[in-house]
Amino acid sequence: MTGLLTLARALAVGYWRDRLALFFSILFPLVFLVIIGGLFGGDTTPRFPVVVVGEVEVFDGLPPQTRAQVDQVLRISHSPDLAEALEQVRRGDQSAAIVQQGSEVVVHYSAGDPTAVGAVRGVVDALVQGANLAAAGQPPRYTVAAEPVEDESLQPIQYLTPGILGWAIAAAASFAAAVTLVSWRQNGLLRRLSLSPVGVPAVVGARVLVSLGIALVQTVVFVGVAAGLFGLRLADSWWLAIPLVLAGTLAFLSIGLLAGAMVKTVETANIVTNVLVIPMAFLSGSFFPLSLAPEWLRTCSLVLPLRHLNDAMQDVLARGVGVASVLPQLLALLGFAVVCSAIAVWRFRWEDA
């Protein structure tokens, strides 16, 4: 026990003094959250810029309530000069230029962005028809009422927080295991320790202990910032995140141990863990929802431990499901850790051949 704690202390002090490792495991993921949160956050549907040239009655005479609805879809600017407006459309600065010629409303658009064209035409058609109805003096026969529904899809911050946190934990744990194993093998510390009263279990145990601690710190800092600054709302079952994070860390440590057992230098260990972790993060939906991915990719990604961690963390942090719902993922993570560690032990070397 003394041996284990001594080694754990040495590792923890070494980690705390490694400013680069601190940055990449704690600060860098926060930077990612800010950037990706900024990209997806706020306006989820983009507004299309249109320029209204001169007087266009269907736009100019709108009641404030209708105008507010239109503004949700279009960003309207005005210009007196048709030639200049058309040039802006050509350059792509504006989705469309709208001009009234007699009783005709003309929409000049670029064919480059069909979504924008559809949206702009839909709005203009609706406004023109509304104006026609008003001009005819008849009450409308049909109206539309819109009601929002709580659906399965989450606000960006709700899925980005577990996803980026999962990636950060995966990167830190696998990197730490690989680099510790390789550098201790390279500088002879592994062999030196094998001649001291501590055994291999203490060496591995110390690495596991310190990495579990780091993962918990990452979780607290990350969820704290997401909740404090980006409006993440924690569900009641948030505490289930703790066993999930610990199980996930074990799985990622085992990846690092395996990588460390296969390579010789710290530089290669660094590259190999990156090559493993970054694609895993994308395929596990860390940076964008997997619902955007094709079905076969989603099926394949079930072999990745990060996929299970991300799914389970979204469930407990944002959706508030119970223990029973995340038990399969928890077992998948632990199972992965056992299998991968077993291979790592089989491939273990005390020194470079």
Binding site: T2, G3, T6, L7, R9, A10, L11, V13, G14, R17, D18, S183, W184, Q186, N187, G188, L189, R191, R192, L193, S194, L195, S196, P197, V198, W350
Partner: protein
Amino acid sequence: MPAAAIMARELQKRYGETVAVDGVSFEVETGEFFGLLGPNGAGKTTTLEIIEGLRRPDAGEATVLGMPSWPRNPALRPRIGVQLQTSAFFERLTAAEQIAAFARLYRVPASRATAMLAAFGLADKAGTRVEQLSGGQRQRLSIACALVHDPEVVFLDEPTAGLDPQARRNLWDLLRGINADGRTVILTTHYLDEAEVLCQRVAIMDHGRILRCGTPAELIRDAGAVSRITVESGRLDADELRKRFPEATVREDGDALVIATRDPGTVLTELAGRDAVRGLSVRGATLEDAFIALTGREYRP
């Protein structure tokens, strides 16, 4: 009569086609300072690592303090101290934290770690991280870590490799001190002068075999190595000296006379009797001469 602290019998180790250790046998008495001397690739380190229990020999057997080295023996670990060729340190710890960690691993009090740091002249470097220590300081720290638990047998693998002459001499004083405390010390070195100065007995290794084993003086004498006596030539006649000492080689070298002999005592007595010792210098035979005599080739570390 104390038992041998270290016993190696017919050790063999090969890596693929290369035979690293080819039938090495020797014993080291308790309290002895023993050296394995040889050029790089002679098999010194592999021999040492087999005895430490780091490697399993293909054949043969090694015991330390009466216990077999292989399979690794937990009871042996607290009783041996090991300094490896690479300085095996925890990254980013200070010198004090480093040795304190080893003290805890061996369950010895922290005060012992502080004392060892001071004994190895590193007290003023206590707060310096291991990465910032000089080569000599790193070696001293590495040896201090190997000694923190007061082991009975100390293994040092090329402790002065890569150090400047001043640092080497400082380290020699410390190493003599370790042995003076009654510990058994075995070291590998490719420096002939180091083996000659430090070791009570030396085994000269080359190509995985021990060529000769004995005290430095024995090795030099047995190799038939000669001493070279140089005096001013004015008072002496070279031909007469050649008749007087037929076994010696007498050579005139400008105004100096060089007498190469296996029996420097008799020659010196004669020279003193004739009052012919102006400008006298004597260069004794060295282990280098012994090595050349044994292998028939220049010594290249």
